[in-house]
């Protein structure tokens, strides 16, 4: 049984339709990448899954239960955590307080402050400073750590590499690879196709609100992906 599955998922901003019948699934223990150009609907898809945009009840199933249209607060309690685009740390909270906010849902599991600090030792050094005083890379680490603190069954990462130096991106993805090696299930949204192919087992490509390609990451060719990515 798939951990998360969407069936003919549609989403709207007012009268504007942003998603057209998206079928997506991910099994437990899998890392799946979602690629696509700006405006392809990747973030809309994530927001709809996480409850930040309305969805029909039966369009999204998690652990076999229909969760479409539940509030974001209810969905995160069921075990889907989002590392949002742009990090969205709380500026008036310290780094450690930001991490503690992730544990607000009080889900049981291996992730606590100590284990997050073991994964990202730099955060421990900077635990007392305001989240806004961190570098971009450290902020991304804090955002991942905050999501992990909720001990999610599924981690969704939106544009981890956005605005970060290549060396920092490498460091972040190394940490992510460690997590996935330990059995974390993750959806990775990424603009850099090469990175996406390397870190994921399977890959979906979106264009104009539709899934235009899906397959095993290692078996897809550059041509197939750019065809699906740009539609040329």
């Amino acid at each position: 049984m798939a951990l998360l599955r969407t069936r003919r998922l549609e989403a709207y901003y007012g009268d504007f339709q942003a998603l057209f019948g998206v079928d997506f699934e991910i099994d437990a223990g899998e890392v799946v990448a979602l690629v696509g150009a700006n405006g392809a609907g990747k973030s809309t898809f994530l927001k709809t899954v996480c409850g930040l945009l309305p969805a029909p009840r039966d369009a999204v199933a998690f652990l076999g239960e229909e969760i479409g249209g539940l509030t974001a607060a209810k969905i995160v309690r069921r075990g889907i955590a989002l590392v949002p685009e742009g990090r969205r740390l709380f500026p008036s909270l310290s780094v450690e307080e930001n991490l503690r906010m992730g544990a607000y849902v009080k889900r049981a599991g291996p992730w606590r402050l100590e284990s997050v600090y073991r994964l990202f030792p730099r955060l421990e050094e900077r635990r007392a400073v305001s989240a806004t005083a961190l570098s971009g890379g450290e902020q991304q680490m804090a955002a991942i750590g905050r999501a992990l603190m909720g001990n999610p069954r599924l981690l969704i990462c939106d544009e981890l590499s956005l605005g970060l130096a290549p060396v920092v991106v490498k460091e972040i993805y190394q940490a992510l690879a460690t997590l996935c090696h330990d059995g974390l299930t993750a959806v990775i949204v990424e603009q850099d196709v090469a990175v996406a192919q390397r870190v994921s087992r399977r890959l979906y490509c979106m264009q104009e609100g539709r899934i235009t390609l899906s397959g095993v990451s290692g078996e897809l060719t550059r041509e197939q992906i750019s065809q699906a990515y740009f539609g040329v």
Partner: protein
């Protein structure tokens, strides 16, 4: 010299009362940017409720107001929670106008309901002589016991509120929701519940402020807007989002009013407003903006 010290001391004690008026307003503004224009009327409502409860309880006058306050606290919290959950949450959004209009309407309803039920006659909460008791600090300088108590309550509640904000899970949730409501939602925080808790706590402060105010002086149904104005001025002088700032704002307002009173009895309230306007001109963000 002694009369100068006396003026400052009395002003500080008066400022404690203003800080009590202002704390609830400061909390609501800090958590959800809500300006409750019925805040003063809720304080008057609490004073009338405490007065009625105190009379109904039938205890000696020295104990009745405190028993009434104890009864009033849970009622007030529940009323605040329900008001936010079922009325005010629906008015919050990018546009500040709906919440202003709704609370303004509530203010009118409360004033008229109080006048209908209790008539326009001022009343006071009988405290068994506490409101006239005083402590002599030195020859020519004495302070009222009740004003001292009110000042103490203001300091304790300010520190308590600041600790709640800085140190507890609920305080972190308050700040997180205030920073970024959607991101807080992604942490599993139900903002409607958190907002309602904030208003519940603000209404605990309203109950304390109303009861103490009613014990100190007489209250009448139409007093609310004046209290709102003092609360407002204290919050602005202190700076939005800081409870210590709100306390400082209340004290500054109290001292300037008292100094004004000593110069000319007609200048008291007026000089408070002048201090407020001067602050708006010189430091529009207040003394301690956003220092939580």
């Amino acid at each position: 010299m002694l009369s100068f010290i006396d003026t400052i001391v009395q002003g500080i004690l008066l400022g404690g009362l203003y800080a009590l008026f202002a704390l609830g307003q400061s909390l609501l503004f800090g958590v959800m940017r809500l300006t409750n224009t019925a805040h003063g009327d809720f304080i008057i409502l609490a004073a009338f409720a405490a007065s009625s409860l105190a009379m109904a309880i039938g205890l000696p006058a020295a104990a009745a107001p405190w028993a009434a306050l104890l009864l009033l606290l849970p009622l007030s919290f529940g009323a605040g929670y329900a008001l936010q959950r079922f009325v005010l949450n629906g008015t919050l959004g990018r546009d500040p106008l709906p919440s202003l209009v709704v609370t303004f309407g509530l203010a009118i309803v409360i004033q008229n309901a109080l006048q209908q039920i209790f008539t326009a006659d001022p009343r006071s909460i009988e405290s068994g002589g506490l409101n006239t008791a005083s402590l002599s600090l030195s020859a020519g300088l004495s302070v009222g016991v009740l004003p001292l108590l009110i000042f103490g309550a203001a300091v304790v509640l300010t520190c308590g509120l600041q600790l709640l904000f800085d140190r507890t899970d609920l305080g972190r949730a308050f700040r997180a929701v205030s920073d970024d409501r959607e991101a807080a939602e992604m942490m599993g925080i139900d903002h409607r519940h958190v907002y309602a808790l904030a208003t519940g706590i603000a209404f605990l402060l309203v109950a304390v402020a109303g009861t103490l105010h009613g014990m100190k002086t007489t209250v009448s149904a139409s007093d609310g807007p004046a209290l709102l104005l003092y609360a407002f001025e204290a919050v602005i002088i202190g700076g939005m989002g800081s409870f210590y700032g709100t306390l400082a704002g209340g004290l500054i307002l109290g001292v300037t009013q008292d100094v004004g009173f000593r110069i000319d009895p007609g200048w008291g309230i007026w000089s408070g407003h002048v201090a407020f306007l001067a602050m708006l001109l010189l430091r529009p963000s207040g003394l301690f903006p956003r220092t939580r």
